[in-house]
């Protein structure tokens, strides 16, 4: 890096462009005038033979230096939110055929080994009591437990304080807690407290990003914008692991690095439109853990704006569940018939990302 880097970074970006003589910084109003003029005069200009020789675009042959859009600047001027510019909202893995194939193979396999959708309609105040009864009387355990959803109204904290989570969750087990930016602090403190600290290790922090101004998932709609420094447009989810699991040796339990720690709202997927937890989140969990015993607890009502749908392979517990068909003994029978883990196939094993440690050990 040269010392000339002192220059304004935005200016720098354009000057390092390989065709720097052609690119120039555009002053706002002048640019706007010309831009508009150019736009309206475009067809004439294009047909004008005198101007024809002048190229109206430049080619950056090197793949190293290239022009980048400044989405923050764009937001200032047009109000278009940066997140709307992501190009792979519709298909997050576009451009990666191997990954696409892996994801579809995994979902096929998961669909083959899944229980039917179960729902248990349990009132908020009976939640702890009911789940404790499952644990103590029916000896029911789950490997994957998700708590809460994209709703502020979930009171996860008091539930967690009272629930015998370590008995409900088998080892190794995976927990997913949803929270807004405010709640995540409280939750983090709880997870670090002495009674929790050792048992559930915070392993990843997932973020869900709503797209679009009118998204149903925008958190804290009644927050006064001037009070917080930035407008809140995100949801957090702690992924915790209990027990021992190693990514290099336990591929029958987990497949790592298949998904990323970001979920962007898929505005084009209509079936996803208002579920309390986006479908892609369920998929992420299913892709990560091969367990077939999955539980989702929604401690309180999900409100009018969201709905709570059942999903095959999951037991969903909450006051707003439409179908109340859960019976622990029936569930145990079904799980024993399909097995507690989704088996992997040779092709999945070939395609899935492997941990680098493994390769090192071969050397």
């Amino acid at each position: 890096m040269s010392k000339v880097e002192v220059a304004h970074p935005i200016e720098k970006r354009t000057t390092t462009n390989s065709n720097s003589n052609k690119v120039s910084i555009l002053l706002r109003n002048k640019f706007k005038q010309k831009y508009l003029a150019m736009n309206s005069a475009f067809p004439n200009h294009y047909n004008n033979p005198a101007k024809k020789s002048k190229q109206k675009f430049i080619i950056n042959k090197s793949s190293k230096d290239y022009f980048k859009n400044d989405h923050t600047n764009q937001f200032i001027h047009t109000g278009k939110r940066p997140i709307e510019n992501i190009r792979n909202i519709e298909n997050p893995v576009s451009g990666y055929p191997k990954l696409q194939r892996l994801l579809s193979l995994k979902q096929d396999q998961i669909n083959k080994y899944r229980s039917k959708p179960f729902g248990a309609r349990v009132a908020t105040e009976k939640m702890v009591e009911t789940i404790d009864r499952w644990v103590t009387k029916q000896k029911l355990t789950f490997d994957v437990i998700m708590i809460g959803g994209l709703s502020e109204n979930q009171f996860i904290y008091p539930l967690l304080l009272n629930l015998q989570l370590d008995k409900l969750c088998s080892k190794p087990g995976f927990l997913f807690f949803w929270a807004s930016t405010q709640q995540i602090q409280q939750l983090t403190r709880l997870l670090e407290s002495s009674s929790w600290g050792g048992r559930f290790r915070r392993s990843e922090e997932l973020v869900f990003l709503p797209v679009g101004r009118d998204s149903k998932y925008i958190p804290d709609k009644n927050d006064i914008p001037e009070e917080s420094l930035l407008q809140q447009k995100q949801w957090h989810c702690w992924m915790c692991i209990t027990g021992t699991v190693r990514r290099s040796t336990d591929s029958h339990l987990i497949h790592c690095n298949v998904n990323t720690d970001i979920i962007v709202e898929n505005t084009l997927m209509t079936s996803d439109c208002n579920n309390i937890v986006p479908i892609s989140m369920y998929e992420l969990v299913e892709n990560f853990s091969s367990s077939t015993r999955r539980l989702h607890i929604l401690p309180a009502s999900v409100g009018l704006e969201h709905s709570l749908k059942l999903r095959p392979g999951w037991v969903i517990v909450g006051p707003d569940v439409l179908v109340d068909n859960f019976d622990p003994s029936v569930y145990k029978q079904e799980i024993s018939s399909i097995g507690s883990n989704v088996p992997s196939t040779d092709e999945i094993d070939l395609l899935r990302p492997k941990s680098p440690n493994r390769r090192l050990s071969f050397c």
């Binding site: 400044d70 923050t72 939110r81 420094l229 447009k233 995100q234 987990i254 970001i262």
Partner: protein, 472 residues
């Protein structure tokens, strides 16, 4: 008749199942064109013609009652009669015999879909209906309206910021295919000659990424995980890209050394009165060991950014976290914002540290990393359990900070990745807008690429010192 037959055929089996369960009054509510007595008359007529409906009681009794109570609407729908069985074949035959009947469109679609879909899908579809807007949601929307101050600030920010050109990226894979085939310049020439103006027009308005196909490239493998940041460009089998950028009016546009924008808003917040004559300070930096620097001599700052070398960066001296936490930040900030880059592991350490020093962590900013092609990174990155395609920045506020511009931005930055560990420059712009361009700003653990006009950068990887302010 026109309504009843399609209704029965359209809903099919579901009429007899839950929740209608063949109940005639429920069935009545599934349509809204007929009145109760007309509805019953229709049912009776259909049954007369096709003999397809089996009722559990005498339907004529209800029809008679309905006729008596024609005027009294409220009484009507109490009907315990149920349909026990439906003969679909007879109904369909009847439909065929009545060519004038317009069953085809709405209800037929309805009829085909539900029979194929599973119960779960049907149930889920029901949940997707939007509730009517309530008073509560109206109230919320009123509360959510941005205040006048915020709107003014947004407008002012717009006026005072130079607009950078942004171009959409072409989403048509065909275009890239055409251009990738041959030498691009020749391709463009031939395009001009053949007047394939659509592609040419697209080139003039949108960014195109054109795959670089070399002898070692295998296009079937798809894109490289690292694209432009790939270290093995000469041997990497995956696809890499080069770019065409529209210049549009670039040839005619003024050069960068044009005079600054002279827009001065009459609305100010948190800015010096003499703003017009104030000149922005040049970039300043001090190469030092942050642990040993005397912070008392630096003065106070309105905004501080720190990108501490959490233990993952082992080659840096300042890697010890306990030492990092000893930095006396209370000496350099009485009131203002502190932005701390953290990792998943260090987020709680960072939070605790900010709280200890009198900050409240009000927001968390997420940098959503994109690649060369403007896509969110989904592969090939670090992360133990999942791939990491974002970074977290804790935003702490100390004091009342009435001068701070709040709510201007979302808590998301979308920017491409550059060198490892290098954070997006968009953050500086955001901070400058929030605290004002003339406020003193500090970056701790900065590198040479972090220095920037208006900012003081300190860290042990800087080249020499440059300090302009007398105070320091």
């Amino acid at each position: 008749m026109e309504t009843i037959l399609p209704l029965l055929l359209g809903y099919g089996d579901s009429i007899l199942g839950f929740p209608v369960e063949g109940n005639i009054s429920s069935l009545f509510h599934l349509q809204n064109t007929l009145r109760w007595h007309e509805f019953l008359a229709g049912l009776i007529r259909v049954n007369k013609l096709s003999n397809s409906i089996e009722f559990d009681t005498d339907i004529y009794k209800f029809y008679a009652e309905a006729l008596i109570d024609i005027e009294d609407q409220s009484k009507s729908y109490d009907c315990s009669a149920k349909i026990k069985n439906l003969n679909y074949l007879a109904l369909e035959l009847l439909e065929e015999k009545l060519p004038g009947l317009n069953v085809s469109n709405d209800f037929k679609e309805n009829k085909k879909k539900p029979r194929k879909k599973s119960n779960l899908q049907q149930l889920n579809e029901l949940l997707e209906y939007e509730p009517a807007s309530s008073e509560l949601s109206e109230l919320i929307s009123i509360l959510c309206k941005p205040s006048g101050a915020l709107r003014l600030s947004t407008e002012k920010m717009k006026e005072e910021t130079k607009e950078e050109p942004t171009y959409d990226i072409c989403n048509q894979p065909k275009h890239a295919e055409i251009l990738a085939g041959t030498d691009i310049d020749r391709c463009v020439e031939s395009l001009k000659r053949t007047r394939k103006s659509q592609l040419l027009k697209c080139l003039e308005t949108k960014i195109h990424f054109i795959p670089i196909v070399k002898s070692h490239t295998d296009p079937k493998l798809g894109d490289c995980s690292y694209l432009d940041t790939c270290h093995k460009l000469k041997t990497c089998k995956y696809l890499h890209y080069y770019q065409t950028v529209p210049t549009l009016a670039a040839n005619k546009l003024p050069s960068p050394n044009n005079p600054k924008l002279e827009v001065l808003a009459s609305f100010t917040k948190g800015e010096p009165i003499s703003k017009k004559i104030c000149k922005q300070l040049p970039a300043q930096w001090i190469n030092c060991d942050v642990r040993k620097l005397d912070f008392n001599k630096l003065g106070k700052f309105a905004a501080i950014i720190a990108d501490p070398p959490w233990n993952i960066h082992t080659n840096s001296i300042e890697s010890n976290e306990t030492e990092l936490l000893k930095i006396p930040i209370s000496q350099i900030q009485d009131e203002g914002i502190f932005l701390l880059w953290v990792t998943v592991r260090s987020t709680s350490i960072g939070r605790a540290w900010l709280l200890e020093n009198g900050y409240t962590v009000s927001s968390e900013l997420i940098w959503v990393k994109t690649n060369q092609l403007g896509r969110n990174i989904c592969t090939g990155r670090t992360g133990h359990w999942l791939n990491h395609s974002k970074e977290h920045l804790l935003v702490g506020i100390k004091g009342r900070c009435t001068w701070l511009q709040r709510g201007l931005f979302d808590d998301i930055i979308l920017a491409t990745t550059r060198e490892t560990g290098r954070k997006p420059d968009e953050l500086y712009v955001m901070v400058e807008k929030m605290v004002g361009e003339h406020a003193r700003k500090l970056e701790i653990f900065g590198k040479q690429h972090n220095v920037r006009p208006g900012w003081l950068t300190i860290g042990n990887q800087l080249e020499g010192n440059k300090v302009v302010e007398d105070l320091v």
